[in-house]
């Protein structure tokens, strides 16, 4: 909080930043499990399916308090996951179809309810429409308080059931043979996911909330091979994107919150995919290039060795030009020779001639032995 108060934030902005941080942390952490279970798109269905819940909650209570609306959202999001499960378990319909069907039907029904409600005299539709694309500026202190409490409960549950959730995500059948009620664990994880999604609706909106489930986790996965680190990192990315996105959208007019947050987190994903150590595309590309270079250098070295065998003195120099037989162009040979020279495996003998050093001979012999062993 210190940093937040030091910088001269006004009160609303502080609330917005705090709310977005909570939503980012929670959706990031729980999204990690959804992504690992190859259920990335379930978040999309849950968030769309929350719409009728919001509308129905308002319809029956006539109350526009965020808490009441979100309870409705959670119930219908949760109902949607039950439907998906019921469809996939009982019929031959695959998960993707079930997701698309439930998503669009629930959302369609939500629209019906929304337009139905609009005819009521007490309906000020602006109150409900913020849930479509999110409007961080509408966060109230009371909302953030509720978010904090729920997030606290969720984090506690996550810590308590850590081992069970890991088991569910990695090998559900094995968990069942150990006597765990995997259905129950699944239900709890799904419930937490529903809570995380619902808490983000006001800020990010139903249409784009799924990105907050998938993107932080996809980014985090690139940086680590450890589940706990991944979940933590995913939460951190979520916070960063949530706070920066909602602050940007609060400061700059005509910049809707949901899309801004999505662009922030997507930037993180892109960055991670390219530069994350070990897995990142950039490193992969460099590694491949290095391998290719090394492979070429080894080939040139072996070639020199082959030619040297025709002479009593293994250090007998040969012309680089002869080496072109190896399907390599002149430049590649020159580069390889330069590299070998740097490693002191060959040395120039003047007039385009090159000879092996003692170290080069040893290296070549070792390479030959390795290739023989592999054959």
């Amino acid at each position: 909080m210190n940093i937040l108060t030091d910088i001269n934030f006004d009160y609303t902005l502080r609330i917005v930043a705090l709310g977005s941080a909570i939503l980012g942390a929670l959706s990031g952490a729980l999204g990690a499990f959804a992504v690992l279970r190859k259920q990335s798109l379930i978040g999309d269905t849950i968030s769309h399916a929350a719409l009728p819940g919001i509308a129905v909650a308002f319809f029956f209570t006539g109350n526009k308090t965020t808490t009441i609306l979100l309870i409705g959202a959670a119930l219908s999001g949760w109902l949607a996951t039950l439907f998906i499960l019921g469809i996939v378990k009982a019929t031959r319909i695959k998960l993707d179809s079930a997701l698309g069907l439930v998503l669009s039907v629930f959302f369609g029904f939500g629209l019906v309810m929304l337009t139905f409600i609009q005819k009521r005299p007490d309906a000020n539709q602006a109150g409900l429409e913020k849930f479509l694309f999110g409007q961080a500026a509408t966060l109230l202190a009371a909302d953030v308080q509720m978010m904090a409490i729920l997030a606290g409960v969720a984090v506690l549950a996550l810590m308590l059931l850590w081992k069970e959730f890991k088991l569910l995500s990695f090998d559900e059948d094995f968990g069942a043979t150990q006597g765990f009620a995997m259905n129950r664990i699944n239900l709890m994880l799904t419930t937490l996911l529903v809570v995380a999604i619902v808490l983000g609706l006001q800020t990010v909106g139903v249409v784009l909330m799924s990105a907050m489930i998938v993107a932080p986790a996809a980014a985090a996965r690139q940086w680590t091979d450890k589940l706990s680190t991944m979940v933590l990192l995913s939460a951190v990315f979520g916070v960063a994107a949530g706070v920066s996105g909602s602050l940007l959208s609060s400061r700059i007019p005509k910049l809707p919150t949901g899309p801004t947050i999505v662009l922030c987190i997507s930037t993180v994903v892109l960055f991670s995919i390219f530069v994350a150590p070990a897995r990142g595309l950039l490193w992969r590309w460099l590694r491949r290039r290095r391998n290719r270079r090394q492979f070429r250098a080894e080939a040139v070295l072996l070639d020199l060795m082959d030619m040297a065998r025709h002479h009593p003195n293994l250090e007998h120099p040969h012309a680089a030009a002869v080496l072109h037989t190896l399907n390599l162009d002149g430049r590649a040979v020159r580069n390889s020779l330069a590299e070998l020279a740097e490693r002191e495996l060959v040395r120039p003998a003047g007039a385009g001639l090159w000879s092996l050093t003692q170290a080069g001979i040893a290296e070549a012999q070792q390479l030959e032995r390795r290739f023989q062993a592999e054959d």
């Binding site: 090998d171 069942a176 006597g179 680590t224 589940l227």
Partner: protein
């Protein structure tokens, strides 16, 4: 048909696993039909049958992972639900995502989760047991290795170690030899023999018919129905194999082979 192979059925309370009238259907057609099976304690048993014969389903039914339409499974004389701790499971290697962010030791420790129960975190004791299990499959140097970096054979050995960490009485393994290198195959066979020496019961879904007599002492031939079950030298016959693999003949309604089977006993 309850009478088939009756001679080789151990008494019910002495069997490690006792299966009665087991019938399993996924959608409309039964995948397992009225299977009776009694696995004596301490045997090394191969489940053999063509693709789609229901071998995996059989193992899953014994573990309670699929709900049977009819029938019962007992482990050491009690319903398996009360005996889950006694069963160790090695699923097909390809059944999990090996890109999951975790390391070898962590996977093996999952074998201790059942004993730990809800909420409790694995600690030093679990780590030690897991390391011990890894040593048995010569994977202890790889304890900290990320699982995506393992070869097929190493993955299989990690799964075996996880089952060993369960310290079970009966091990059920689904195609542990599938796609592993020769070293791993040797290691698995040694392990199976050691388990038998310790008096454990091991059930293995096996694909390579040639090695059955070498590796196993008991065989269960399955093709939707039970074809035959008993000691390898008596029951691993060409006749029975033809029944299991050319089983289509019998399915088409020729009844004779089964009668022959009964007579040959």
């Amino acid at each position: 048909m309850n009478g088939l192979n009756e001679k080789h059925k151990p008494p019910r309370d002495q069997a490690a696993i006792w299966v009665e009238d087991l019938t399993v259907a996924y959608q409309d057609k039964p995948v397992l039909w009225d299977v009776d099976l009694a696995i004596p304690k301490g045997v090394l048993m191969a489940i053999v049958g063509p693709n789609g014969a229901g071998k995996t389903t059989m193992i899953k039914a014994m573990l309670g992972l699929v709900d049977p339409v009819a029938g019962r499974v007992e482990v050491f004389g009690k319903p398996f639900r009360e005996q889950r701790r006694l069963l160790g499971y090695v699923p097909q290697r390809t059944s999990v995502d090996w890109d999951f962010p975790t390391n070898v030791l962590d996977v093996v420790m999952m074998g201790r989760y059942g004993t730990l129960g809800w909420f409790r975190r694995p600690g030093k004791a679990e780590r030690e047991k897991a390391m011990h299990a890894l040593e048995k499959v010569a994977m202890d140097p790889y304890a900290d290795r990320q699982i995506s970096q393992l070869s097929g054979g190493q993955q299989q050995r990690v799964f075996l170690a996880r089952a060993l960490a369960q310290e079970a009485e009966v091990y059920l393994m689904d195609e542990p030899f599938q796609g592993v290198d020769a070293t791993t195959e040797r290691a698995i066979v040694d392990l199976l023999r050691e388990l038998r020496k310790q008096g454990r019961t091991v059930v293995v879904v096996h694909h390579d018919l040639q090695t059955v007599p070498d590796y196993f002492d008991w065989v269960f031939l399955l093709n939707v129905r039970r074809i035959a079950c008993g000691p390898v030298e008596t029951f691993f016959t060409e006749e029975n194999l033809r029944l299991a693999y050319g089983g289509r003949v019998a399915i088409l309604g020729e009844r004779k082979p089964i009668a022959d089977d009964a007579k040959s006993l």
